[in-house]
Amino acid sequence: MKFEIYHQLGHNGTWNIDSIKNENTGEGIIISPRSMNKKNTEKIEESLRKKAIFDPLLLNPHQVNTKMATYDFYPNDVMPYGFETKQFSQYSSIIANKCIKFQDQNDFRYFVIPTRYYNDMPPVSTLTRILNEHFIDPFLTAIENLGSHKGVIIQLILNSNMIKNDEYASDLLNWITGIEGIDGVYLITELSPRDKQIGDVDFLYSLLNFVNALSQNELEVILGYLNTEALLLSIANPSIITIGSYENTRNFNSNNFIYDNEKTGQKGPTPRLYIPRLLDWIEHPYIDLMNKTDPDYIRSAAHNEYLDQVLKPGYKWHFTKPEPYKHFFIEGYKQLREISIVEDNERYCEICNIIDSATREYSQLKEAGFELGVAGSYLPKWSTAAHLFAKKQGWRK
């Protein structure tokens, strides 16, 4: 199945929107109230808004930031004493009605039913009871009352222990596939602790199986908060894959949703540029070095107009500047789009070729004297996860 590519909007979401409009780097956007207030969400151009997915973001109902506070459906606004778990059921219908009304008025692509985040592993029966009671039942009722026939997506945030535990994941799948009236899942996963790239074979393989099982059950699968592992996960046949700018839109970290600890004055990360042939974001001094030692390499590996801008003498790299991200939107989209047109076994083979080629490129860089440390060390693990999955699908002996 050909998948679509959506932008996970975060801070400076206009960069993503401009890129989609001007450079055709995506089919849609996922809007987060954390980084876009109600007024700005409503102001999004209609054609884009109608294709957009709205994430109601109730994963941490204790917390709202100033942008979220502009919406009227958060517990702090609805519940007289703020969010309390024990009281929530009494207010869940009001919250559902307000949230669905907002989604309906803005005519987003789907109705999205929000979820809670758990960092531990409550028994599946407890987890599903809470999600049913707090979100799924009241939201489905609110949608039914509207009489709309638009698609319904449930959001699910799973931690790595949930995904990696076969029995737990299987029970969750049974529950999801038994929910009447939904068309798909907006799946977010958290691997903690993690490096910038995911090197946990068990997690990747389990996630591939989980996504594939949802897809096999004819549910649409939207994968949120993805870094370059998006490419690997595409072999599990998701419907929508996401790309993002800042790291917090490419790597789900529940700590980013605790707003009373909003950090200020922290040193930003070293700016990076995405090199598709290396399947990774490379720190800017190494980009300068590549440009110095072999300008043809860097131009052939990642050329677009934003590369020219960042390679101009005197360009001041900073993680808040748009050029590296806009460069990624073009290169990341191009890479995913090429993969999306092939399917199943062919997609698996193509991705293996890309991974193998990246591995060779890292070796060549090392031969040329680049000491990049652990860069690229996750690639053999991606290959292993892909091969295990392919074997299970019968694509590989």
């Binding site: 720190e283 001094p285 005197g314």
Partner: protein
């Protein structure tokens, strides 16, 4: 007997005749743990004369030469010469990888606990590979940071 800690080793390097020779005569700067660039070198030395300035970065490691090499390679973004200095008792594995030091142009030295420095690979001078970090480094060492 080798060093007990990297801190002890860094102190020994700074007190060594090699560093004394490097910084004399003429104006020079020695700093420890310079932050805010691309990695944190254990020691940096900037040697100036009327014609030019040469900057050095040193990464000291008791045993892990691989990590030291990667770190030293980062420092080449802003200095002219970057070195790994190993505890002399544990330098043998790094010596087997001389080619990696040579092709990345990272110097390799070792020091024993008498303060004697052993030279294994001398890098040649190169321009720092990141103009932005070179400029930031020069500002930091010459303007904002106190001399040791």
């Amino acid at each position: 007997m080798g060093f007990k800690s990297e801190k002890e080793m860094v102190e020994a390097i700074i007190e060594s005749n090699y560093i004394k020779d490097l910084t004399n005569p003429g104006p020079s700067i020695i700093k420890e743990e310079v932050k805010g660039l691309f990695g944190v070198p254990d020691i940096i030395v900037v040697k100036k004369n009327s014609e030019k300035q040469i900057s050095y970065a040193f990464e000291a490691k008791l045993t892990n030469w691989r990590r030291a090499l990667v770190q030293a390679f980062r420092y080449k973004a802003f200095v002219n010469r970057s070195y790994v200095i190993m505890d002399h008792d544990h330098v043998a594995p790094a010596l087997l990888q001389g080619e990696r030091f040579s092709r990345s142009n990272i110097g390799l030295m070792s020091i024993d606990n008498t303060g004697t420095i052993y030279f294994h690979y001398h890098p040649y001078d190169e321009s720092p590979y990141s103009p932005q970090l070179e400029s930031k480094f020069n500002s930091m060492v010459t303007e904002t940071m106190p001399c040791r």
